[in-house]
Amino acid sequence: MATFEGREDRGAGFLGARLGPALKSYGDQLIVLLVLFAIWQALSMWLGTYWIGSPWGVAKRFTQDVLDGELLRHASLTLTEAIVGFVIGALPAAALPFLLRRQPIITAILDPFMVGGYGAPKLALAPLFILWFGIGIESKVALVAITVFFIVYFSALAGIRALDAKLVQMAQVVGANERDVARHIVFPGAVPYIFTGFRIAMPYSIGGAVIAELISSNRGLGYLIQLSAMNFDTIGVFVALVATALIVFIGNLTVNVVERWLLRWRPPSDVMLQAAT
């Protein structure tokens, strides 16, 4: 237990956003937000709104773009790319270590390639994917999938490796076969690790989609950023960035809710108190 509690803490701190910590932290977060706005405002006044759009200007444009549906049209495409890519990348990545659990030799053979894939800058693949899959949704989905895959693969692998041999022995003594062990011991034990992987991979999936759009596309938040920058429309850039951040924020809340429900068997100190203290 102690080992994966420690591990999970790192995941818990990721993005900092957590449901349900003491109300006090909401107040503190509001203060931080106001300070950030103040700095933003000061910078835009100092350097001029030509270079840095003012918060008020961004808020006005944001509302306007939301109301006329333009922002939602771009955001929904980016979100679709991220979700489809996430599913295509994360599910096989979570399943693979289970399938290879009894194949340590194959896992060992794959290891250097997986490490290489994990370490390689996936964003640099974006031009290649656009070459292969065109400027439509496919190239973005491919980039998101490959980015997410390696993160989740290594998390799931860590979960399988952290398996407590004593629990497996206990199960075998009471009559569990190989399938029972996989289903009742290995899988539930790996779920917290897989979720840590999901939590880390989620913002990368949004980021991957946006960057692929930046490079080449005619729709999406990345396209919006690129278009606005080319028109020297810094407010437009900021609006797209705010929308991206919002999507990541909501995505993180979703992961939290699902995780809290799936991992309700864990001591609460992991899930909430850590974030509150």
Binding site: Q169, M170, V174, G175, H184, W265
Partner: protein, 265 residues
């Protein structure tokens, strides 16, 4: 009583695998022989590091032996090859380990029912039996709690009845009450004796506590330091049912205690 003992340990030996470039690892257990009758409560006592857990692991078939034989119901168990091990020997040998090994993602009730689920024996009757055991050890009201919400003593109780629930004829216990405070420990010893009186299973109970070995057992084996051999064997003639709290004042207790302590180094 059957003519043949239920379980026979014949010349059992164990040494762990050597690492390359090292001297051969010493024997943990060497030439150990004893037998257990059907329905007997055998306690085994020995200094720490005397291979008590290793012995139980071999009997439970989760570890191989380096020599000798284990016969269960007159059948030799396949204990030399790790691939042929049959952990729990087809659900006939239950094992209450030192740690409770409860599954953290299952509630108390789900943990207790776990053996029945994997054995495909979960039905109304076995479920009712499980509920009876939960009440018998005072876990009623905690069925839906997860292990982290239970105290150490409650977790021990849950792990104990998880083994009792599927009714294996032999139960191995490895210092199951070792890490508990004196009060909880005594309570659990009483619970165990009460449950044993209902079912009269064969129990092999390992401990390093002389008083516990006397209070619970029909017979006590004393092991030497590694390599473990039998240093002494004592029949505990204190009549049952026994009162754990008053057992130390029994006239036979002090004498047994002295004799056993002289053998435990």
């Amino acid at each position: 009583m059957a003519a043949q003992p239920l379980l026979e340990i014949l010349g059992l030996g164990k040494r762990f695998a050597t690492r390359a470039g090292r001297d051969p690892s010493p024997w943990v257990i060497q030439d150990l022989s004893f037998s257990v009758r059907d329905g007997e409560f055998l306690t085994i006592i020995g200094p720490s590091g005397s291979g008590k857990t290793t012995l139980l692991n071999m009997i439970a078939q989760i570890d191989t032996a380096s020599g000798g034989e284990i016969r269960f119901q007159s059948q030799a168990a396949p204990i030399s090859d790790p691939k042929s091990l049959n952990p729990g020997l087809s659900c006939k040998i239950g094992y209450v380990t030192q740690e409770d090994n409860l599954l953290p993602w299952r509630t108390t009730l789900q943990n207790v029912l776990f053996p029945l689920v994997v054995q495909g024996r979960l039905n109304d009757e076995t479920r009712a039996h499980a509920q009876m055991l939960i009440r018998a050890v005072g876990l009623a009201g905690f069925e839906d709690h997860y292990p982290h919400e239970l105290s150490g003593g409650m977790r021990k109780r849950a792990s104990l009845i998880r083994t009792l629930v599927y009714d294996p004829p032999v139960i191995l216990m490895d210092e199951p009450f070792g890490a508990l405070d004196a009060q909880t420990r005594m309570q659990l010893q009483e619970d165990l004796l009460r449950l044993w009186n209902i079912g009269r299973k064969t129990i092999i109970f390992v401990t390093h506590d002389i008083a516990e070995a006397i209070a619970l057992g029909d017979r006590t084996l004393v092991l030497t330091r590694a390599p473990a051999r039998i240093a002494g064997e004592h029949t505990i003639s204190i009549p049952r049912p026994r009162e754990i709290r008053g057992i130390m004042t029994h006239p036979a207790f002090a004498e047994l205690y002295q004799r056993i302590r002289a053998e435990v180094q």
